[in-house]
């Protein structure tokens, strides 16, 4: 046998007579051909059935089982103290399998009528769904349990098939607008759409259950197979680092600031614990009610609002849904000078007492001046920071050079997202290949944009001794019984500056508040450190095209919180961070530190300035001796007014009157006669006076002063020229005028 295919074993005992050799060779070739292809097909089949079998089986399973889903309960979102921020209520969903309902041969009209009666829906709509060719139609979602039970009873009584009532959940936000951007909201399928609801969706959502029944391609149940229930698994609870109370304080502060300063484009505030990066509060205004995220935002005509059109969603995304603290970028302005200072101090090119000058500096044909006309001249570096002199920082950055300066900008995290657990974090807009001019502008915070969360994260490193932390928003996950199942530890990103630099800079920034441009954030007893910021936006419109901000931390010796306040487009003058953002931040810091039960430590200056309010006692008809004693006890002083009758010993009238609330050392006038008409004085003009000057002026004419704030008088409760009863308490508001 001379065949090259060597397949003789399969055709043993054959003869070659009759058929030629060529034919036999080719016949054997055909045998080999079929053998090869069949073998190849067997390998292919094995590949599909054995190697990939499980995957195909899974796919087939999904299409073969009717998808009546039972929603899993969504996990609760708690604040750090276990207060509920987002909860799920049990509701029900009614759905049908139109094919199955039709097959049951019950009257369609009757079914539709009854369903429309129970569920208060249009009968025509139900009939439309009953006529569909699909195998799953939702009749109504998220109805109360009692209504669902009515449908159940009816199904049971009438022995209906193809109509299902299954558990569903509905999200409820007890605090409505509170922390709206942090918490976020869910869609109609309970899927997280924004905020923590979106970023933690995989933990919150749980695993939906199913009513399984095998169906054919037309969605009809294959009768030989029975239904199976797969129970849903509830999602995990998410515990945030947010403190509901601090969040509330921050939101109230922003609402008030927006009103007081006619802020046009909203505001943002963040409160962070610098020791671990915990976000205690994060708010952005305007905001929205989480229970109705698609409702018309204020200022929009609700009758023309649908809430689901592309334009409407766009509008929502640009306004109330926008989390300005995380997704917006802005020029940090002077708040960035702390970063430049940190670089200079850490590199040892400057010390707090180094002599500097703020005379004009020329960079690439650009003259950079101090904000103060004629400049401050020669000063120490510390004074340069207090006065916020731009040329000082330009010169400092030039000493450092581009490489070293931008190395610190990078180390403080301004080139990276902070990776906070919120959707859509903005990427900073910052020089990739910086020039000398870029650096000069950057040294005092201009011509680049960062996000608020980036700035507070960087300040956290300045406050805590030099470590940059990733902002932490989620503390842990818990199960239904409150057991912790996953903890998100604070994450150190890197060490940016030394402890020593941190200490030095904290002291300087404290001075900015106690001595410099940040004075309006000063709180007696709490050592607040911070830096003001005012940045011009590129907007051409004249009114309020500024962003006023104040970045602070306190107490300066051992910071417990960092707080950033940003007011976007305030339509007032003055519009500087020191004038309008600092007082808001100061008040917020005071409230938060009070709440955190941080002890106040008064400085000597504080104690002097501190005027403990007291209630004026009733001393009329008492002897002068008794009156003196009573007033002394209350820390008040007195002045006897006697109409020449020095022998009179009984107080006939007093001013201020009893129960008036006045500061300590207030002079109470004691009349030894009954004056027919109390003597009056003319209110002087004390605007722009210092506290001392104003107090002196008023004292001279016999008025008492109630001091509010620090700095220079900006508002007097009684207008100049008004006649005022002698001895009356006049409230005068002082403010640190920041002309930066």
């Amino acid at each position: 046998m001379n065949n090259s295919f060597n397949l003789g074993f399969m055709c043993g005992g054959m003869s070659l007579i009759g058929v030629t050799l060529t034919i036999k060779k080719r016949l054997l070739f055909m045998l080999l051909f079929f053998l090869t292809i069949i073998t190849a097909l067997l390998i292919r089949l094995g590949w599909i059935q054995i190697v990939n079998g499980e995957w195909y089986q899974q796919q087939a399973f999904e299409q073969q089982n009717s998808g009546i889903e039972i929603s899993a309960g969504r996990g609760t979102i708690f604040d750090r103290n276990g207060k509920e921020l987002a909860v799920s209520a049990n509701v029900e969903t009614v759905s049908i399998n139109p094919q199955e309902v039709r097959r049951s041969k019950k009257d369609k009209e009757v079914i539709a009528q009854k369903l429309s009666d129970i569920l208060s829906l249009k009968k025509e709509d139900i009939i439309k769904k009953l006529d569909r060719k699909s195998r799953y139609e939702r009749i109504v979602r998220k109805i109360d349990k009692e209504v669902g039970d009515k449908v159940r009873k009816w199904i049971k009584d009438e022995q209906l098939s193809g109509i299902y009532v299954v558990e569903d959940t509905k999200r409820f936000y007890p605090n409505r607008n509170l922390a709206a951007h942090v918490i976020g909201f869910t869609g109609s399928d309970n899927q997280g759409l924004d905020g923590i609801e979106a970023t933690m969706d995989k933990y919150l959502k749980g695993k939906p259950g199913k009513i399984l029944s095998e169906v054919d391609a037309g969605g009809r149940e294959i009768s030989s197979n029975e239904q199976k229930h797969v129970e849903p698994q509830k999602g995990n609870n998410v515990v945030l680092t947010i403190d509901e109370t601090i969040q509330y304080m921050a939101e109230k502060a922003m609402e008030k600031a927006i009103k007081d300063n006619k802020v046009l484009r909203g505001a943002a505030a963040i409160v962070m614990d610098p020791k671990n990066g915990d976000i205690l509060a994060l708010t952005s205004k305007p905001d929205f009610d989480l229970n109705a995220p698609f409702a018309a935002p204020s200022g929009v005509d609700p009758s023309a609002w649908k809430g689901n059109t592309k334009e409407d969603i766009d509008k929502l995304s640009k306004t109330v849904w926008r989390d300005k603290a995380v997704v917006d970028t802005y020029e940090p302005g002077s708040t960035f000078k702390a970063i430049t200072s940190a670089a200079g101090l850490e590199e040892g090119v400057i010390t707090p007492t180094s002599p500097v000058t703020d005379f004009t500096v020329k960079v690439g044909g650009w003259n950079i001046n101090c904000w103060k006309p004629n400049a401050h001249g020669n000063e120490t570096f510390t004074e340069g920071v207090y006065n916020s002199c731009n040329p000082v920082f330009v010169r400092l950055s030039q000493t450092l050079g581009i490489d070293r300066f931008y190395n610190y900008v990078r180390k403080f995290g301004f080139y990276d997202k902070t990776m906070i657990d919120l959707p859509g974090e903005a990427k900073s807009v910052i020089h990739k290949k910086p020039t000398e001019v870029d650096m000069a502008a950057a040294s005092f915070g201009q011509r680049f944009q960062i996000s608020p969360i980036q700035l507070i994260t960087a300040y956290g490193a300045i406050a805590n001794g030099g470590t940059l932390y990733k902002p932490r928003l989620v503390k842990e996950l818990t199960d239904d019984n409150g057991n912790i199942i996953k903890t998100f530890e604070p994450e150190k990103v890197r060490t940016v500056i030394s402890k020593q630099t941190s200490d030095t800079l904290r002291t300087i920034l404290e001075g900015v508040v106690s001595e410099g441009t940040g004075g309006n954030a000063y709180i007696k007893g709490y050592r607040v450190a911070g830096k003001t910021g005012t940045s011009e936006t590129l907007q051409t419109k004249k009114e309020g095209r500024y962003i006023a901000s104040f970045m602070s931390f306190a107490p300066a010796d051992n910071p417990a919180i960092c707080a950033l306040v940003i007011l976007d487009h305030p339509d007032v003058y003055p519009h500087t961070g020191g004038m309008i953002a600092a007082p808001v931040a100061g008040k917020l810091v005071e409230d938060v530190l009070n709440y955190l039960e941080i002890q106040r430590k008064y400085t000597e200056k504080d104690k002097d300035a501190l005027q403990v309010d007291t209630v004026v006692p009733d001393v009329t008809n008492k002897s002068i001796e008794d009156a003196k004693k009573l007033l002394n006890e209350k820390g008040l002083t007195y002045e006897i007014v006697n109409k020449g009758n020095t022998n009179a010993t009984v107080v006939m009238e007093q001013m201020p009157k009893q129960d008036a609330v006045v500061p300590a050392k207030t002079v109470v006038l004691l009349y030894t006669y009954k004056p027919e008409k109390e003597p009056t004085v003319k209110m002087p003009d004390i605007l722009n006076d210092t506290i001392e000057e104003a107090a002196e002026t008023l004292k001279e004419i016999g008025l008492n002063i109630k001091v509010k704030g620090l700095g220079k008088a900006v508002k007097q409760a009684v207008p100049p020229g008004t006649k005022v009863t002698k001895g009356q308490l006049v409230e005068v508001e002082f403010k640190q005028l920041d002309t930066e």
Partner: protein, 369 residues
């Protein structure tokens, strides 16, 4: 030399086993469709199949006893009759349109597909003719070309029905017969080049052809559309695993697979009997092919040899194309699986042609050199 010998037992037994398994699988695969589409009669398809199988088996036993040489002599007439019938399917009153194609002829109460008869006629006529003028195959114009023209003629008639799968099948079977008869390899190679050119031309310039190829290469891209049937087929095969879901327990036949009792019956079998079952079935088909080729090798003359390889290929090509399609190894063509797929005329004619093969085996020459 003719010898009075028994027919080839292996062919006979493999055919009987394949037919039995095929009818059982047909019942399993067809009952959901039969139930839904034929007023609850789950036996609709299997009843018909059984009837035609019995008819076919009777035909097989009769034809087995007829000397195949007699068939050779009438094959030219048979071939011409077939061509005429193929032309007649288009004529109203005789031909009839079913499922968008003119494939049937009704003569009184009898209806059948001329294309089924054509399969046997082509094999018989080509083999008969080639056994006489095999030497001329050395030359292209004198030898191979006349056959190519004949192939072109009946292909054209089949394509206007249209009946693409039958065309593909008969072109391949004709090619195998010509190849075994001794056609020049270089002629085949020379024809291969234009074929590749035509293929590239189609893919480049015709959206429809390209779409088919795309569907084949990336079936998961369009699950609900063009790829539906091939994906359903893969789901069915994949779900089978090693041992299968068990006879009758397949899910995919419940209207997911289009006509599960027809071209995709192999997918249903794969789902219910698993890889083990498929190995057994493909082994049986291979036994049939091996014994068929052995009959060709031992045939008493070239005519018998060519008829044997033609009939063997007729089954073999259908099997490999069908399995290749359902496993998405080649683009979809709609080839039935012999002995399994539902189809009355087809099964009857198939069993009759097995009768011819068995007759050749009876006359086999087993003497050694």
């Amino acid at each position: 030399m003719k010898g009075k010998r028994p027919f080839d037992f292996w062919i006979f037994i493999s055919v009987l086993m394949l037919l039995s398994i095929g009818i059982i699988m047909l019942f399993s695969a067809s009952y959901p469709s039969a139930y839904y589409y034929h007023s609850g009669n789950a036996y609709y398809f299997v009843e018909k199949q059984l009837l035609f199988a019995i008819l076919g088996l009777i035909g097989m036993f009769i034809i087995m006893r007829i000397d195949y040489h007699k068939l050779g002599k009438i094959s030219p007439i048979l071939f011409i009759i077939c061509l005429v019938l193929l032309a007649l399917v288009r004529i109203p009153g005789i031909g009839s349109k079913l499922n968008g194609a003119y494939r049937w002829i009704f003569i009184g109460p009898i209806s059948f597909q001329p294309s089924e008869l054509l399969k046997i006629s082509v094999i018989l006529f080509f083999s008969y003719s080639l056994s006489k003028r095999r030497e001329s195959l050395k030359y292209f114009f004198k030898g191979l070309l006349p056959y190519l023209l004949l192939v072109g003629l009946f292909s054209g008639l089949l394509l206007i029905e249209p009946h693409l799968s039958c065309t593909v099948l008969l072109v391949l079977v004709s090619a195998i017969i010509l190849f075994c008869a001794g056609a020049q390899i270089k002629h085949y190679l020379a024809m291969g080049l234009p074929a590749v050119a035509v293929f590239i031309f189609l893919i480049t310039f015709f959206e429809h052809a390209r779409k088919r190829l795309t569907t084949f290469l990336h079936p998961m891209q369009d699950k609900q559309g063009d790829s539906w049937q091939i994906i359903q087929s893969l789901y069915a095969i994949g779900s089978g695993g090693l041992f299968g879901r068990g006879l009758g327990k397949g899910m995919q036949k419940h209207l997911y697979l289009p006509e599960p009792y027809n071209d995709f019956i192999f997918a249903v079998t794969a789902e219910e009997l698993g890889y083990i079952g498929l190995i057994a079935i493909l082994m049986l088909f291979f036994v049939f092919i091996w014994r068929g080729i052995k009959v060709a090798l031992n045939a008493p003359d070239i005519f018998g040899s060519l008829v044997a390889i033609g009939l063997t290929s007729l089954v073999g090509i259908q099997v490999i194309v069908n399995v290749a399609v359902v496993t998405s190894s080649i683009p979809a063509t709609g080839m039935p699986l012999p002995f399994f797929s539902s189809g009355g005329t087809s099964l009857t004619f198939l069993l009759c042609s097995i009768g011819i093969l068995l007759n050749i085996s009876k006359q086999a020459n087993y003497e050694r050199i």
